[in-house]
């Protein structure tokens, strides 16, 4: 691969006449447009990428965050959620559209751990921040942090606990203003966080990243057909703009099965918008994997 700044049309070994080279490039671009495969099916060498030697501030962190949200969503396990410990190494490639591909290695801890010295898992990922499609494409593998059997047991325990809970819930706001979560409500929080991971994965970009601030309301809670059907609102905190974004999330979960999520987040208001200060929903964006 070539360092950035060099012309993409610079002659390569095995110089070909210009027309053929152009044709080859066009063919390559056509192939890339047709393929919907996630990053990783093709090495950076055979596309219009050049190495981003000057890693922009925080890019590796952004990639780690996107990768971790995606990992948590795909794992579909509220008792095995992970958080970022440390980015260890990484490199990036950039193309002419300023899209970036990031390869990185990072460590993780369990979200729910209370231990002072938590066990670390190690992940390696390739993250592709694109311009057109909203979600970063992620390929990620991680070493095991919880034994599979233990994880399944804990998920089932959580599932059974949830099935017994009364609905509608009297409590709004988990955690409360002082950061307190009643232990009996902890499973709800974990499931809400799991669903939020899907949303945060889709919304994380090179520049934007999110945290779940609070579960602000629970609309509905069903356990038909064995699955848990959970309709709720979380407040996401976007760090670089400092905005608090309410997202209505609807998820369907059964231990061991892929998580299904639908959501709609509120857009930032414009000064002329009518409605109450704390938000009428504007342009709804229905995104889901139902």
């Amino acid at each position: 691969m070539q360092p950035c700044g060099q012309s993409l049309f610079a002659p390569r070994p095995g110089n070909r006449p210009p027309a053929t080279r152009l044709l080859a490039l066009l063919l390559l671009l056509a192939l890339q447009g047709a393929a919907a495969a996630p990053a990783g099916s093709r090495t950076p060498e055979d596309s219009e990428w050049c190495q981003d030697a000057e890693l922009p501030q925080g890019l590796l962190l952004q990639a780690a965050r996107a990768a971790l949200h995606f990992f948590n969503f795909r794992a579909g396990s509220p008792s095995a959620l992970r958080v970022l410990a440390e980015v260890q190494e990484g490199s990036a490639w950039i193309n002419q559209r300023k899209e970036r591909k990031v390869d990185l290695v990072f460590t993780t801890e369990l979200y729910s751990t209370e231990e002072a010295k938590a066990r670390l898992g190690k992940c390696s990922a390739r993250v592709f921040f694109r311009n057109e499609k909203p979600r970063p494409a992620v390929n990620v593998t991680c070493t095991q942090l919880i034994e599979r059997q233990k994880r399944q047991e804990e998920d089932y325990q959580l599932y059974r606990h949830m099935k017994q809970l009364n609905t509608p819930l009297d409590v709004v706001s988990i955690p409360d203003s002082h950061g307190h979560i009643d232990p009996s409500l902890r499973p709800i929080w974990d499931l809400a966080f799991l669903g939020s991971s899907y949303v945060m994965w889709e919304k994380t970009t090179q520049f934007l990243h999110y945290y779940v601030s609070q579960l602000s309301s629970v609309k509905q809670w069903k356990t038909n057909d064995d699955a848990i059907d959970f309709d709720y609102t979380v407040l996401l905190h976007e760090f670089s703009t400092q905005e608090i974004i309410p997202c209505r999330i609807h998820l369907v979960w059964y231990p061991g099965k892929p998580l299904k999520v639908k959501y709609h987040c509120q857009e930032l208001q414009t000064p002329e918008a009518s409605g109450t200060e704390d938000g009428s929903a504007v342009a709804p964006i229905e995104l889901s994997n139902f």
Binding site: S177, H178, H180, Q214, H237, T241, E243, I244, L268, P271
Partner: protein, 388 residues
């Protein structure tokens, strides 16, 4: 230790046996005749709403002040309305102002409260002045807290620190020698309107509560409102944005009050601003990637402070200039301070790194304040030894 009880009251869980002490208000009730006086007496004596007189009704024509617990604000308001009793809300932030008065009362030779101005909604702004010298304009340190109202660990750390300063003076050599040479001014609630709003309406309110003409969106980001690269990169001109810089520099009276005081004093050497969250210790600039002239020295001081902070419980802070450590920010307090001759300008972003975020659990208040104190002392000691 008295302040543990104070924090028990502050967080309201368990120790005082009452939920949510935060947000208690004092209502001033107009009493126009004997009938209204007896209605009010009846209400308070009935104990339905756990009310108590702050100032008892004596004769009509003089208002009575009643302390209303936050949980009962709504029902009491409804009751007063139904009885035709007129009222206005006077004191809020009871706990913090109360504690400030207590500190000044307990240590009159060391601490005093100074009113520096008022907020948009006309709440008083008080600083605690710690001084062992009389009357002179001694070199001074400004500790700023609560400018972003939802960052509750900031106000909490500030008030704990106030207690720590007065308790340790004469015992701890570091703070003793610092105060023997310099004054410390501490503003625990730089944004009182926002703070009350987070207790009563919206826990995640950040900005001031000033009105913006032509839009229903309220408030300006008080940490984008200072007169340094005002309206530059890292602020928004959209009044609905959380980083709206305001109509013009110092448009926010809360900011102007601090600016005027510091200008008038003329001898501040350090300005430290407490925020949350992210665990960062930063120095200028936020408004540009260009290095501040004193960047190297400030970086070294910050590293030492972060090391001291970590020595307590291992809490790790990242260190660097604002723009590249967190994000570009124009019109910020420490950039203004720095460009106005206050060299030792730092921002702390306190615990945590996103797990609880703004909703840091109460049981982390004291550990946070204790470790932050070590960092603050490191900075203040350096200022003491490098007065200019």
């Amino acid at each position: 230790m008295k302040w543990i009880l104070f924090f028990g009251v502050l967080i309201g869980s368990g120790i005082c046996g009452r939920e949510k002490f935060f947000g208690d208000q004092v209502f001033r009730i107009n009493l126009r005749n004997g009938d209204e006086i007896s209605k009010l007496n009846q209400l308070v004596n009935s104990d339905n709403f756990k009310l108590s007189f702050w100032k008892s009704p004596s004769t009509f024509g003089h208002p009575a002040d009643v302390l209303v617990p936050s949980v009962n604000l709504q029902p009491v308001k409804s009751f007063l309305k139904s009885q035709g009793l007129e009222y206005s809300v006077t004191i809020e932030d009871l706990q913090i102002y109360h504690e400030m008065d207590r500190i000044a009362g307990d240590f009159p030779n060391l601490a005093s409260t100074v009113k520096i101005g008022h907020s948009f909604e006309n709440r008083s702004m008080y600083v605690l002045k710690f001084s062992t010298g009389e009357g002179r304009r001694r070199p001074a340190i400004w500790l700023n807290a609560g400018i972003h109202s939802r960052e509750w660990i900031s106000q909490a750390t500030a008030i704990w620190t106030s207690r720590k300063i007065v308790s340790d003076y004469g015992k701890d050599p570091a703070i003793t020698s610092i105060l023997d040479k310099m004054d410390i001014f501490l503003l625990p609630v730089a944004n009182p309107d926002g703070y009350v709003y987070t207790q009563t309406q919206n826990r995640f309110w950040r900005k001031t509560r000033s009105l913006n003409p032509g839009t229903h969106c309220i408030g300006t980001d008080p940490n984008r409102n200072w007169n340094v690269s005002f309206a530059g990169e890292g602020a928004s001109n959209n009044p609905c944005s959380e980083v709206y810089h305001g109509a013009h520099a110092n448009s926010e009276v809360e900011v102007k009050s601090v600016v005027d005081f510091i200008r008038e004093h003329g001898n501040f050497k350090s300005f430290i601003d407490l925020h949350s969250y992210s665990q960062l210790l930063m120095y200028p600039y936020g408004y540009t990637v260009n290095k501040a002239p004193d960047a190297e020295e400030l970086d070294e001081v910050a590293r030492c402070a972060a090391k001291a902070l970590a020595s307590l419980s291992g809490t790790e802070y990242q260190v660097g200039p604002t723009c590249t450590t967190v994000y570009p920010a124009s019109g910020s307090s420490i950039d203004w301070a720095y460009n106005n001759g206050i060299k030792y300008a730092f921002t702390f972003e306190l615990r945590d790194t996103g797990h609880y975020g703004f909703l840091l659990p109460a049981n982390q208040i004291i550990p946070t304040a204790e470790e932050t104190w070590l960092g603050l002392k490191t900075i203040m000691e350096h200022v003491r030894d490098n007065l200019y």
